[in-house]
């Protein structure tokens, strides 16, 4: 009986000490349950009425961002393709331009060569015509000079001998005299 009494008193002491610890820490099971229930109600209310709105908004914004990112990616791809197309077109245009320039150079060269040939031919023609003109002028001048010389010689002879020979004799004498002169002096 005494043993039982000791055990009960020990249990009572332990229980009191335990209760004292919880009391000292301020733990009150009623308050603890009340706080847990209050917080759970808060979570349930927010989870039912507030979180769906906020999360839907975040998801919607995320979808918009994803759509924007996809559109951006597609635009980037299109831009890249367009750049490639432009590069190809530029390359082709450069090749064509080079061909055109080469053709133009060739044609210009041909035209210059043809013009030069024409100019040379025309120059030669002009020179030939000029030479012919000069030759004709020289011949005419010589003929005129010969006639004038004949006249001068006749006139001089008439003045020296004092009589006039007939025209036929004059001409014959003068011709003989001129013929005896060296050709370069004519």
């Amino acid at each position: 009986m005494a043993h039982i009494s000791i055990l009960t008193s020990f249990a009572e002491t332990a229980s009191t000490q335990k209760a004292d610890l919880f009391t000292a820490l301020g733990i009150n099971w009623k308050l603890l349950i009340l706080q847990a229930v209050a917080f759970l109600i808060l979570v349930l209310l927010l989870g039912k009425y507030v979180y769906p709105i906020i999360i839907a908004s975040i998801d919607k914004r995320q979808e918009q961002l994803d759509a924007g990112a996809k559109a951006s990616e597609a635009a980037q791809k299109q831009a890249s393709e367009a750049e490639q197309r432009i590069a190809a077109q530029l390359k082709q245009a450069r090749v064509e331009a080079d061909a055109i320039v080469a053709t133009a150079h060739k044609e210009a060269g041909d035209m210059v060569a043809a013009a030069e040939a024409r100019a040379a031919s025309k120059a030669e023609h002009i020179v030939a015509e000029a030479k012919a003109g000069i030759e004709s002028d020289i011949v005419a001048a010589r003929t005129a000079l010969r006639q004038e010389t004949k006249q001068l010689v006749a006139d001089a002879t008439e003045k020296i001998i004092g009589s006039k020979l007939d025209a036929r004799a004059d001409n014959s004498l003068i011709e003989k005299a001129l013929a005896s002169e060296p050709k370069g002096n004519a």
């Binding site: 000292a24 820490l25 301020g26 999360i55």
Partner: protein, 284 residues
Amino acid sequence: MLSPLTSFAAETPHISLAPDTFFNIGPIPITNSMLLGVLGYALVIALFAYMARAAKTRSRNRFAVATLWLFEGLLNTIEQVTNNRKAARALAPLSITLFFFIVVNYWTGILPFVGPVTYNGLPLFRGLAADLNVTFALAIISMVTVQIYAIRTHGVFGNAKRYLRNPLRDPAGAFEGILELIAEFSRLVALSMRLFGNVFAGEVLLVMVGFLTNYFAVVALPFFMVFELFIGTIQAYVFFMLTIVFISLGTAQHGSDDDHAADKQLPTSHTPPDKRARPAAASD
């Protein structure tokens, strides 16, 4: 003889581990932490209502943008830890509410009228998070949620096998199970005590700084208050993070039977195998 000592003691700041009871409503004692807790709850509800309105109206207000950015950051953190978008959305109401609830109640405990305003010589207000009943309640809710998710993943017996194994067939596993069981309780105690200890220490720090600096408290206290705001945010994040890590650990496959099996994640998991990863072990 004792008179100077008692008068000195009467002038010392009032520091008590337990919240002070002012009156009772039926069997429920109403404490100073509950009085300030009403403000805390009201602020949390107002904050979430504001966030919902801002999200609905796409408000560009800086505060709205900041709170929604924080909300989204926390949601992304849950998603990264659980590796599961759907599970992250299921866990969000509890874990994100925990974060905001702790931050708001930690910060309300720093308000200047908490402590100096007294009734019958006792502080009329006390931070709700400086009440062990609250931190214990939050920790119990977290750990019960861990067990609910673990049971949904492994089944009742599968989950029990994590703690109770046949010592004749697998002595090491049986010992590990006991350690795991102890770890669950230690996590519960650690979660609640860490938060309570930080809040209570912060409040004591503010009271003592105010008491020691006397008239210069106006200059000295703001620095410590800002520091406490920072600590409050950190503690809320730690509580939030540990809750989701414990849930993630509870839903991960363990044990020799499953060594060659692919890691199984949360019940709603549709995660591709390459993205499945065992979450980092909690340092608790």
